[in-house]
Amino acid sequence: MRTTLPLIITFIVGVFMLGEFFIPHWYYQHIKTLVLEFGTVIAGVAFLLGVINLTQVNLPRVLERQPDWIYKAIMLGSMVVTTFFGFWEAGPRMEDGMVYKWLFDFLLVPLNATMFSLLAFYIASAAFRAFRARNAEATVLLVAACIVMLARVPIGEQIPVIGSYLSVFQNWLMDVPNVAARRAIFVGAALGAIATGVRIILGIERSHLGSD
């Protein structure tokens, strides 16, 4: 019962949703949009579940003063503060002068943006240490990368004689070999996704239900 019922539901909902291309009746489509909307609500609650799980994992560590507890406390504290002001300030929370907006503008924005900008430095280091023309394949990869890097910026166009050809060749690389390779990957990935989807709907793949 605990496994069979969810599998039956998976099958019914999956087959129902697949029917949208074959049954254009308005009521069928209406039910479909309802199911989609219910799905979005469940996805929203799943986010809440993640937050509860995060608290369950980290709160005991803070209370037991485990190593690095102070960082966990900062995380939980900032989460509580942000949540509190988000609900307290309610509707106008995104207006200037609100604490919630301040937290977003001056904490979340710089932290989020700078975390990702670190990658510029690491990619430079990786290019220096690991990008070697060890064989023909690596050489092709390296040359393609250098052409793209040079031709995508204005300085590439300014190179005497080859500048304009470089830009055409770069566009050709993107339009022909790149498109060929991406389409092959698309086909492979699409077939994989479809196969996984069918396995889920038929109940062959059931890892999402967890174990008993």
């Binding site: 979005t40 989020n112 290019a127 040079l150 910026v153 698309f186």
Partner: protein
């Protein structure tokens, strides 16, 4: 020599970091202002907007976060100017919660400079969790998925939403996307099914993945990363921005020059050292 080359290859990566930082800061302080071309894909985005009749509504899905603002934020800002200047009506939605404070103040501020009225000339429908499921419903029934706009006004009460219940009621869909969920999901879930006229804006990382969609005609235009935004700025402003408007992507193109050259030099130096070392060791 060999020892020195091995040392060079194993040098502390912080020196590379320092070099990168210098390559970024120097052109920021001393700009080169090199001219740049406009790619066909970006020109197509511009043309799609230009050929819309006045008063048309454009559905924009702004799916990005603060981290991707340097790349696609300038496009978003310029796009709003472009739409308002042409008396087109942007209808904004987002699938990324972090996009809300980035797009809402921006659209309100820009709309103010063009004397546009909220609810009539533009609207922000807010954010919904649910990824592909939300996109599917945008294709089928926007009113169902977005019962109210961001401020809580029911959609039927908004003049701009009259007669615009589904994605296909919009003559142009613009997906400004920094990843998942975004452009890829829009193309997969609704573009093909409803044969939508759609253009895409993506970060540079996603660029090579979306070019096949542009080549196949599923996307009618495509702007990739910061250069795409700079080229769009060039098309819209023609080097004469309105007072108070900063062409951030155009300014950043200078820095990209040196950044790319620095990485290419690193690759070349690393390879030279590698090959000399290998040859000496073999000998």
């Amino acid at each position: 020599m060999l020892e020195w080359l091995i040392k060079f290859q194993r040098m502390d990566r912080r020196w590379v970091f320092l070099g990168m930082a210098i390559a970024i800061f120097i052109p920021l302080v001393f700009p080169l202002q090199l001219p740049f071309r406009v790619d066909k894909e970006v020109r197509d985005v511009y043309r799609q907007v230009e050929k819309l009749p006045e008063g048309s509504a454009v559905l924009i899905s702004a799916d990005f976060d603060p981290a991707s603002v340097p790349e696609i934020g300038p496009f978003f800002t310029t796009h709003l100017h472009h739409l308002f200047r042409r008396n087109l009506k942007p209808v904004l939605v987002t699938l990324w919660p972090t996009a809300i404070p980035l797009v809402l103040p921006e659209i309100k501020a820009i709309a103010k400079t063009y004397n546009k009225k909220y609810g009539e000339d533009f609207v922000f429908l807010g954010y919904k969790e649910g990824k592909e499921l939300v996109i599917k419903n945008i294709g089928q029934n926007i009113f169902q998925q977005f019962p109210t706009d961001y401020d809580g006004t029911p959609l039927p009460d908004l003049p701009i939403m009259q007669g615009r219940r589904q994605a296909k009621d919009f003559p142009l869909i613009v997906s400004i996307s920094a990843g998942f969920p975004g452009l890829n999901e829009y193309v997969l879930q609704i573009q093909g099914q409803y044969n939508l006229n759609m253009v895409g804006v993506c970060t540079a990382v996603g660029g090579p993945d979306y070019i096949p969609f542009y080549k196949s005609g599923q996307l009618k235009g495509l702007s990739m990363g910061m250069p795409g935004s700079a080229q769009y700025e060039k098309l819209v402003w023609k080097d004469k921005p309105a007072p108070g408007v900063k062409l951030l992507a155009t300014a950043a193109m200078d820095v990209l020059n040196l950044g790319h050259v620095f990485i290419i030099v690193l690759i070349i130096m690393g390879n030279i050292a590698f090959f000399i070392t290998r040859r000496i060791e073999e000998a």
